[in-house]
């Protein structure tokens, strides 16, 4: 399905025997905010805690954001009716971009009806620009298997049709588990001067902590603010069962080194599911071949739109976005900004040719000016 070889980072990295690209599909519409992903991640990777043990003042979120120690992070967002309407409109607008209109069946308040709309929805969803329209060059390829979803078998009496409108319209509590995007064009990897960051045979991006010198260039290179340097924290649980209690000042491993999600590279090599996906009770976090994850994600968006939940949209599934599409695909129920995600992420190195060209022109210009000055001076 990934027709463009340039979009396949594994091939791009010149692996002789590329594995299929692996990735997550995080479906926030079925996330129950249990944070099992956060805990499983820290347990497996033995990451330090990330906390002063105080309420952050952000609903049930007390770890704040992704960072050097927190590689999965669940956001909690409480929203009233106005924001829900806005989200529904913006999601619908994504669908409406030059496409036949889609919406709930006849009689529902949002009136836009057609039973043929699924394929266009899929296209729009595949575009997945998530930026509320415009500016990011949507153009995903429709996939034939998605059209199977355009069934109109849901009669007005069916439970699905009956719940076309979310039944609690005035309030909702969004939960979303964020993670490293494992970009097709990864800013962190591009700017790493030591080669500590590398592209794995699965198309993911991993830090080699014994190579990293802690320069921090990658931190500025990530358009999502995912990668960070590890500074402090508590590593050992207070009472390790086999040893005497350790003081809070126990040495943090890889102190000063840049850290982020490895998509459980070590587990992957043993055909194991990453810890977060393994622990997720509702399959909100799915793991598999990137192509099939993206396809599943498109189907799910189409299904939700069919149910009238037009607020659903994809994030990261567009290979033409500023990072060439991400390995971790998300289904969101509002604008990306709501979840603290950049609406239009862009790998900083994308501007390099342009910058080189501009810099080259500037140099040439200055040389020319110098030459002119020199020449004209000579005439004096």
């Amino acid at each position: 399905m990934t027709a463009d070889p340039a979009a396949n980072p594994t091939a791009d990295a010149h692996y002789d025997h590329p594995h299929p690209r692996k990735g997550f599909f995080t479906d926030t519409s079925i996330c129950i905010g249990c944070k099992a992903c956060e805990v499983a991640c820290k347990e497996w990777n033995r990451n330090p805690v990330d906390s002063d043990y105080e309420l952050l003042g952000s609903s049930y979120d007390n770890t704040g954001a992704l960072g050097a120690n927190t590689w999965r992070h669940v956001a909690f967002i409480e929203q009233g009716a106005e924001q829900i309407d806005r989200a529904r409109e913006s999601g619908r607008a994504l669908v409406d971009l030059g496409m036949p209109r889609v919406g709930p069946p006849e009689g529902a308040a949002s009136s836009k009806t057609t039973s043929q709309g699924t394929i266009p929805v899929t296209q729009a969803a595949a575009a997945g620009c998530g930026s509320g329209g415009g500016g990011c060059g949507c153009g995903g390829s429709p996939s034939p298997e998605d059209s199977a979803d355009s069934s109109d078998g849901q009669g007005p009496e069916s439970p699905v049709a009956a719940s076309v409108h979310p039944d609690t319209p005035d309030f909702r509590w969004l939960m979303s588990s964020d993670v490293c995007k494992h970009c097709t064009h990864a800013g962190c990897l591009d700017v790493c001067p030591t080669g500590a960051l590398f592209r794995t045979e699965y198309g993911t991006v991993v830090v080699q902590d014994d190579v990293c010198n802690g320069c921090g260039t990658c931190v500025a290179g990530c358009p999502f603010g995912v990668i960070e340097r590890r500074s402090d924290g508590v590593f050992e649980p207070k009472n390790q069962r086999d040893s005497p209690p350790v003081p809070d000042t126990v040495k943090v491993p890889q102190h000063g080194v840049a850290q982020k999600c490895t998509l459980c590279y070590d587990r992957m090599k043993n055909d194991q599911t990453p810890a977060c996906a393994q622990a997720c009770p509702t399959t909100s976090i799915k793991y598999g071949d990137h192509d099939s994850m993206a396809a599943t994600a498109r189907e799910r968006v189409a299904q939700l739109h069919e149910q009238g939940k037009t607020e659903a949209r994809l994030y990261g599934a567009n290979p033409n976005d500023g990072v060439g599409g991400t390995g971790s695909v998300f289904l969101l129920l509002d604008e990306p900004e709501t979840y603290g995600l950049p609406p239009d992420p862009r790998v900083p190195t994308a501007d390099l040719p342009y910058m080189f060209k501009r810099a080259g022109m500037a140099v040439a210009g200055m040389l020319a000016v110098g030459a002119v000055a020199f020449a004209s001076g000579g005439r004096r």
């Binding site: 129950i32 249990c34 439970p159 719940s163 509590w173 939960m175 649980p237 207070k238």
Partner: protein
């Protein structure tokens, strides 16, 4: 549930919830507290089911539900009774099912009087003891059988005796016995004393308007719920209810569940795929802790604990069940003899009543709260605290801690130095000066415990499924499993008593205590499970495991430690360790673990077929009668005698399973039917009736009787209750509060607050309040608040959130405050804080002695609580303003003049 259906466990598996067309989650925050089981709700939703969450708060469960109905805490019977009324008045009940499988057509005694006639009391109330006498609730005996006389049944006892044993617990695996084998029925349902007619009258006032004014649920929302439930019930569709401690932790908790049972029976949703009532039990083996009980009043398999009035084995057995009566409970003698043979082996013989006299006997209730009260009176010397943290996790934490300070010795077995082990040095009472460490005489022993990955054994989880845990690592240091601890304790006690000639030591001396040891020196847990399963003791199969409880004999030729678990070790195989992956078997997944009874996954599944034995519909078929082979068949194990013809109508006097008719799907009930009306088994009424909680700002809109008149009270200066509503003093504690768990922490924190990875996710005690309440009281978001109840004052950070909704209750705005209860004061955990349960009082449900910990009243004010002794002054300043004494709100009958006179007038008019 035991009283309604015959067994006190969830009626189906969690996996079966995926088959539901509508799921109502009420009294449970399933996504947060049972996140793994919740995957089947997610699956049901993906298949098109409607998910409705009825809860005072908008929780993580609500976030993924279709609809939220905010409800006032403690008003669930009003809502469910409203649904029953809706079903009856709109004639939406499943006629064929109800007529054949429930006691709808059974006729009740003419003496029965309903709370509708008596201002909130049922007939038979004794104001002196505050309990009920049940005779007037009995079935009427059919004409021609009046002479069979009162059956030789222990259940003709008075309510106070039964309550003294928490008799409601005993129906965990078998319904109560009846007064007659030949109840009178009117299949036309016209007799005014048929159960259905009584139901109609009883719930006639439970209208949508009454629901609105009692629960705070709008007419539109009620209509939504009623339509969702009724449209998704019937031949083709099923609705499932799920509850947890949001229903049980009330003074009428058992009746909450009964209301749901009545509704589900009327809708024909019991014994069928995607139906039933999912009882979500607490942690990994809470179901197991009632099957093989940690309760004072039960023996394994829900056999009752002997009481002092049952002097002999025969008296004891006769009181459990009438042998002439229908159903498998009639074989209780075989189960009891097998149990006693498992415990005392050759020392249990027929001539000594199978060692019946070796068992201790109850002379009253000895539940945890009665025990705490006795501690305060210096009547208890020692206390084992295992797998619990009463200083934080039990209601009225202050009394729990003060009680422990009266002990001579205290043993705490836990992973960590929990607050129940450290209250003597850094508990709240040390801070207030009520206790001084140097004055406390209690000797505290701490034993480190092995955790669940450090020991092997079984968990019996919420759906009665036994799953074997394999040991992953050896426990570190001195940590021990419970099995090893008690095995060693028993060995030491027996060694001390080895030479004793005292009769009272014989039970210990003669106990079978001979488990084989593993190489590491631990007793082999598989040997324990095999003993629980039971063996043939004589005959050609001597020594071989039993394969079913039907093989148990009352002649001493079998043993078995828990009859309902018989079969888990059939053929010498540990079926709890069966691990066939789901993808390799059908959806019932019979080869994953082992479920009691007899590995049935959906109970009462005979009801999944119509009276003739045909599935009600293709979509909902599970078990059906194969007329050709004369057998019940289907993917699940039939919960019915497998070769009993649907048309069979044997003589009820045959007794036992043989007496069951072919259309008696509730095989543990004495009449084989599901009980809409419970003539026996409930000590506080045969039908669920709305009463207000012990503490409520609302006057009972239905009856003069304010609270459950049979609730158990503990008047004590440390256990004061708020004044009755409607008085100026009641406004001292104007708000309702409810307590609950969060996903990130585990109950009283022993398993989570010592773990940094979990503690960082929910680090601090907080309260959840609506923006309206925050404005009313001047509370700042994420600032501090002090919450004062009639017992205590605690502080918490404030979460102001739209997830809390003020409710309009009959013109009054009722604010509810949410309080998670995980934190406690102490110095050892990673995170500490004030304990919500300190606010709670101790008032109990009379059926099962469960405390009302889901609701109380309080005041809330901005700022931190005072430190040191000043916090006591704050609490007593409130108490004085409210004029509280130990008798406040602690009279059982609210308005004797109206209620008791009503009864007399009724009687006089006879």
């Amino acid at each position: 549930m035991g009283t309604s259906f015959g067994r006190g466990g969830a009626t189906q598996s969690l996996q079966d919830m995926a088959n539901a067309d509508c799921i109502v989650i009420q009294g449970s925050n399933m996504a947060e507290c049972h996140p793994v089981g919740f995957q089947w709700v997610t699956e049901a939703k993906a298949r098109g089911a409607k998910i409705i969450h009825v809860d005072p708060r908008f929780t993580r469960t609500t976030a993924v539900s279709d609809k939220h109905l905010p409800i006032r805490v403690g008003s669930d019977i009003a809502l469910l009774g409203g649904l029953i009324n809706y079903v009856l008045t709109h004639d939406l009940w499943f006629h064929e099912y109800v007529l054949a499988y429930t006691n709808a057509a059974t006729i009740i005694n003419d003496d029965y009087r309903d709370p509708e006639d008596l201002e909130g009391l049922f007939s038979g109330y004794d104001p002196d003891s505050g309990t009920y006498e049940h005779t007037s609730w009995s079935y009427r005996t059919a004409p021609g059988y009046e002479d069979e006389g009162a059956q030789d049944s222990g259940e003709d006892e008075h309510g106070d005796q039964k309550s003294g044993r928490a008799g409601g617990d005993e129906h965990g695996s078998g319904g109560p016995p009846l007064n007659t084998n030949h109840p009178d029925r009117d299949e036309s349902l016209q007799d005014p004393n048929t159960v259905l007619q009584i139901l109609k009258r009883h719930y006639a006032r439970y209208t949508p308007e009454m629901v609105r004014d009692t629960c705070g649920i709008s007419l539109e929302d009620f209509d939504y719920l009623a339509r969702a439930v009724t449209e998704n019930s019937g031949r083709e569709r099923t609705t499932c209810f799920a509850y947890a401690v949001g229903w049980t932790h009330h003074t009428l908790g058992a009746q909450f569940i009964r209301t749901a049972a009545v509704l589900q029976l009327l809708l024909g949703n019991v014994g069928r795929p995607g139906g039933g009532i999912m009882a979500l039990r607490g942690h990994a083996s809470i179901q197991g802790s009632t099957d093989i009980p940690t309760l004072f009043n039960l023996l394994p398999g829900y056999l009752p604990m002997p009481s002092v009035d049952k002097e002999s084995f025969d008296e004891y057995v006769d009181a459990i069940a009438v042998k002439k009566q229908k159903g498998f409970w009639a074989e209780a003698e075989a189960y009891t003899v097998s149990l006693l043979k498992a415990w005392w082996g050759d020392a249990a013989q027929e001539d000594n009543g199978w060692a019946y006299d070796y068992m201790p006997r109850l002379n009253g209730p000895h539940g945890t709260y009665q025990t705490v009260m006795a501690m305060l009176k210096d009547e208890v010397e020692g206390y084992f605290v295992l797998g619990q943290n009463p200083a934080i996790g039990s209601a009225n934490g202050r009394l729990q801690r003060l009680g422990m300070s009266h002990l001579k010795w205290l043993v705490v077995r836990d992973f960590n130095l929990i607050e129940s082990a450290t209250w003597w040095k850094d508990g709240p009472e040390i801070a207030t000066g009520e206790l001084r460490t140097e004055d406390i005489d209690t000797e505290v022993f701490f034993f480190p415990a092995a955790n669940h990955v450090e020991k092997a054994g079984t968990f019996t989880q919420t759906q009665r499924l036994l799953q074997w845990r394999h040991q992953a690592v050896n426990p570190p240091g001195d940590c021990q499993s419970e099995l090893q601890f008690f095995f060693e304790l028993g060995k030491r006690l027996r060694a001390k008593l080895a030479d004793s000639r005292d009769e009272r030591d014989r039970p210990l001396q003669e106990l079978t205590w001979d488990y084989p040891l593993l190489p590491e020196g631990e007793p082999d847990p598989r040997a324990v499970l095999a003993e629980i399963n039971g063996r043939h003791l004589t005959g050609p199969d001597k020594g071989k495991p039993l394969s079913s409880y039907t093989q148990m004999k009352a002649d001493g030729s079998t043993d078995g430690g828990c009859w309902i678990y018989t079969g888990v070790y059939a053929d010498g195989q540990n079926h709890a360790a069966d691990r066939k992956p789901g993808r390799e078997q059908d959806e019932i997944a019979s080869e994953w673990g082992w479920a009691w009874p007899a590995n049935r996954r959906i109970l009462y599944n005979r009801a999944s077929a119509d009276p003739e034995g045909k599935p009600w519909s293709e979509r909902k078929k599970l078990i059906w009668w194969d007329a050709q082979h004369k057998r019940w068949t289907g993917p699940d194990v039939p919960d019915f005698p497998v070769d009993k013809d649907p048309a069979a109508r044997p003589d009820p006097d045959l007794g036992g399973a043989a007496a069951l008719s072919g259309d008696d799907p509730f095989i543990m009930q004495a009449d084989g039917k599901g009980w809409l009306f419970a003539p026996r088994g409930m000590v506080d009424g045969p039908l669920p009736t709305h009463y207000e909680p012990q503490e409520s700002p609302v006057v009972n809109p239905l009856y003069a009787q304010q609270q459950n008149p049979a609730r158990e009270l503990f008047p004590h200066p440390g256990n004061l209750s708020a004044p009755e509503p409607g008085t100026p003093q009641a406004e001292v504690y104007p708000y309702m509060f409810t307590t609950y768990r969060l996903t990130e922490q585990h109950t009283a924190g022993g398993m989570s607050r010592w773990l940094p990875y979990l503690s960082e996710l929910q680090p601090e005690m907080f309260c959840e309040v609506s923006p309206e309440l925050a404005a009313e009281c001047g509370l700042e978001p994420y600032g501090w608040a002090t919450i004062v109840s009639p017992r205590s004052a605690i502080e918490a950070k404030v979460l102001v959130t739209d997830r809390m909704t003020p409710l309009d209750i009959g013109g009054r705005t009722v604010h509810q405050i949410g309080l998670p209860y995980h934190w406690g004061q102490g110095g050892d955990a990673v995170v500490t804080g004030d304990a919500a349960n300190d606010l709670l009082g101790i008032t109990l449900d009379p059926n099962v002695h469960i405390q009302e910990s889901k609701v109380g009243t309080c005041d809330i004010r901005p700022g931190r609580r005072p430190r040191g002794p000043e916090v006591l002054e704050l609490v007593s300043e409130y108490q004085e303003r409210a004029g509280l004494t130990p008798s406040t709100s602690n009279t059982k009958v609210t308005d004797p003049q109206r209620e008791l006179t009503a009864e007399q007038t009724e009687d006089g008019s006879q």
